[in-house]
């Protein structure tokens, strides 16, 4: 495929919204160019005969290992015992025991 995949401003604006990135029109235009160049490059995968090939999301034959849904106790490492205070300290804006957030309900306006 020659040239650059055509990514419209409308589509890059939609992707920025889905990505939760408030970008200026100038930044969006620059992104559109770069994304177009990468998408054109990856188009070479269409040359491959992928019929019947199972997608591989993960290496090896690992299966998920779930842990018991219980509060961490003395037997677990210190990392598992992070209390609410440690989590609250990381939050950039809080009013313990609450984390501050702007209004959640209503019209989200232009992201």
């Amino acid at each position: 495929m020659s040239g650059v995949a055509n990514i419209t401003m409308e589509s890059v604006r939609r992707v920025a919204h889905l990505s939760r990135l408030a970008l200026t029109d100038g930044q969006l235009a620059a992104c559109a160019d770069r994304l177009g160049a990468v998408l054109s490059y990856v188009d070479r995968l269409k040359e491959l005969d992928l019929g019947g090939v199972e997608p591989m999301a993960h290496p090896g034959g690992a299966t998920n290992r779930l842990q018991a849904d219980e509060p961490a106790g003395e037997s677990t490492g210190p990392e598992r015992r992070l209390g609410p205070e440690a989590l609250m300290r990381m939050a950039p804006a809080s009013m313990p025991p609450f984390v501050k957030v702007p209004k959640v309900l209503g019209d989200e306006g232009v992201a």
Binding site: R20, A22, Q27, Y41, D43, R44, L50, M90
Partner: protein, 509 residues
């Protein structure tokens, strides 16, 4: 004071164990070298002077009290550096990003705890491309790092700070992370040994996630023996990483024991596709020279076919951004990291979108958007599933090469360059993202397939640097999953025969 800076990990650990050198002396030498050499290199984002000296002093006290070095651990008193995407329960963990500029992790990564439990003294945290996305350290939000072999050039990336720190002899060992080549490519550009272990071999708990099906933590060191020792310390099952392999609970973690024993009947495969006209003449020459080295040692070197090698970058730049877009969704301005200012009328969405626009640099934003795009409705099959199918073919290429079945190559390892060229100039590739992405053409396939791969010193591009300096080039060995012990023995055979690793950069410090 003893010249501990030029010692390898194993030499230094031995000197501390025999009390020829104190851990405090070793830490002091490391800190002094950072103070002098790092002015021009800028490999470090943070230095823990006080903490390092206190930890070293504690080790000296234990040794003086009669405790054996063996009981303290194989790295007793060895100064080490950590890539700053590994969480430490002290100092900051920035990932080279404004969004985490002031972030203090409440815990240390499993690999950090294992290093420290083995007696290592963490002296600092090193620079990286923001969230490990890049191949030069130029995407760090703070500053770029310079290559000790030629300060006008990049050290590679994303673990470029760790590579520069070890190459400049500020520490004999550093940890990096490798998602598409981020340990091996900088090792190649700085004359180091850089190992990406098998996926699942080393815990990712406390490594800030970039692409979870590709990321692995590994060592950068000056010798194969040091990398082997470090791997033994950091590897093994970890309950806190759900992708850590349960089978490794009983695994043998001594990668040093048989290191000096050459592999009998060694069979290596050189992919036809890696003898590319794109390779720098010095890289092409180093590949042929390495083949000669192994043949001289009695190995059989055969040409193999990895027909999908050239599709690695295309598959990677769909899979990695897709996973990154999901992993980086956690940076929302609320739970941790940078939070944008909002007014009384602003909605939650404005806080998310502004915090992320202010906090992430341009390359990270582009990769999040690329990942979001390829996962979005209408494109998921065309891009994401296509890439996952190509990934399967890339893995099958390696399975075929390593297969001992009748008619298959049955090689013990694949030999090919780590990068197509030596270190490039800072600024040379920043305007062309695809040129930068292609730095990883020979490295990404190991991540996609989940297999171990090591970059070793492969020779020099003579007078290729600014002012006629020689620049190092790396060779790469790739092996079957969980075959690190043999892979490192194969690497050691090359090292013992060539001694390229003994050459040090002329950095002042």
């Amino acid at each position: 004071m003893a010249d501990t800076a030029s010692m390898t990990v194993r030499e230094l650990a031995g000197a501390v164990a025999s009390r020829a050198v104190s851990a405090v002396e070793a830490a002091r030498v490391s800190l002094d070298r950072i103070a002098s050499a790092d002015r021009s290199l800028r490999a470090y984002l943070q230095v823990f002077e006080e903490r390092a000296l206190a930890r070293a002093s504690e080790i000296d006290r234990r040794l003086a009290g009669g405790e054996s070095a063996a009981s303290i651990g194989p790295l007793a008193g060895v100064p080490v550096a950590l890539k700053d995407n590994l969480c430490t329960g002290y100092g900051r963990t920035t990932c080279g990003s404004r969004i985490l500029e002031k972030y203090e992790s409440p815990f240390s990564a499993t690999v950090v705890r294992r290093l420290e439990a083995a007696g290592a003294v963490v002296v600092g945290k090193t620079n990286l491309d923001e969230f490990a996305m890049g191949s030069s350290c130029e995407n760090s939000a703070f500053h770029c790092t310079h290559n000790p072999w030629d300060v006008t050039r990049a050290p590679g990336g994303s673990s470029g700070g760790s590579a520069a720190a070890v190459a400049a002899r500020t520490v004999p060992l550093a940890l990096g992370s490798d998602t598409g080549g981020s340990i091996r490519q900088p090792a190649s550009l700085t004359n180091l040994v850089g190992l990406k272990p098998t996926y699942g071999r080393v815990s990712r708990f406390g490594l800030v996630a970039f692409a979870s099906s590709l990321d692995q933590v590994g060592p950068l060191a000056r010798t194969v023996g040091d990398a082997a020792l470090a791997l033994g310390v950091i590897a093994g099952f970890d309950e806190q990483d759900s992708t850590s392999l349960e089978a490794l609970r009983q695994g043998d973690l001594d990668f040093v024991r048989d290191l000096e024993r050459p592999v009998a009947g060694l069979r290596l495969g050189v992919p036809r596709q890696a003898r590319s006209p794109q390779n720098h003449p010095a890289v092409a020459a180093a590949l042929e020279a390495s083949i000669g080295v192994y043949r001289g040692l009695g190995a059989e070197v055969v040409e193999i076919d990895l027909p999908h090698l050239a599709y690695g970058i295309a598959a990677y730049y769909i899979v990695a951004p897709a996973e990154a877009s999901s992993n980086l969704a956690r940076f929302d301005g609320i739970r941790y990291g940078r939070r944008a200012e909002t007014g009384p009328g602003d909605h939650l969405m404005a806080l998310y979108s502004r915090s992320r626009a202010e906090g992430f640099g341009p390359e990270v934003q582009r990769r999040i958007m690329l990942g979001t795009y390829v996962l979005s409705s209408g494109y998921y099959d065309a891009y994401y599933l296509t890439a996952l199918r190509a990934r399967r073919l890339i893995k099958r290429d390696f399975d075929g090469a390593f297969s001992a079945e009748e008619g298959m190559p049955g090689v013990h390892a694949v030999l090919m360059p780590t990068t197509a060229g030596p270190a490039f100039k800072i600024g040379e590739k920043t305007s062309d993202p695809l040129a930068m992405y292609l730095e990883d053409i020979y490295t990404v396939t190991a991540n996609l397939a989940g297999i171990p791969a090591v970059s070793i010193p492969g020779g020099f591009a003579e007078k290729a640097g600014t002012d006629g300096q020689d620049l190092p080039v790396g060779m790469q060995l790739l092996g079957p999953a969980f075959d690190e012990a043999r892979l490192l023995r194969i690497a050691r055979m090359h090292e013992a025969a060539t001694r390229w690793h003994e050459r040090a950069p002329g950095v002042r410090g």
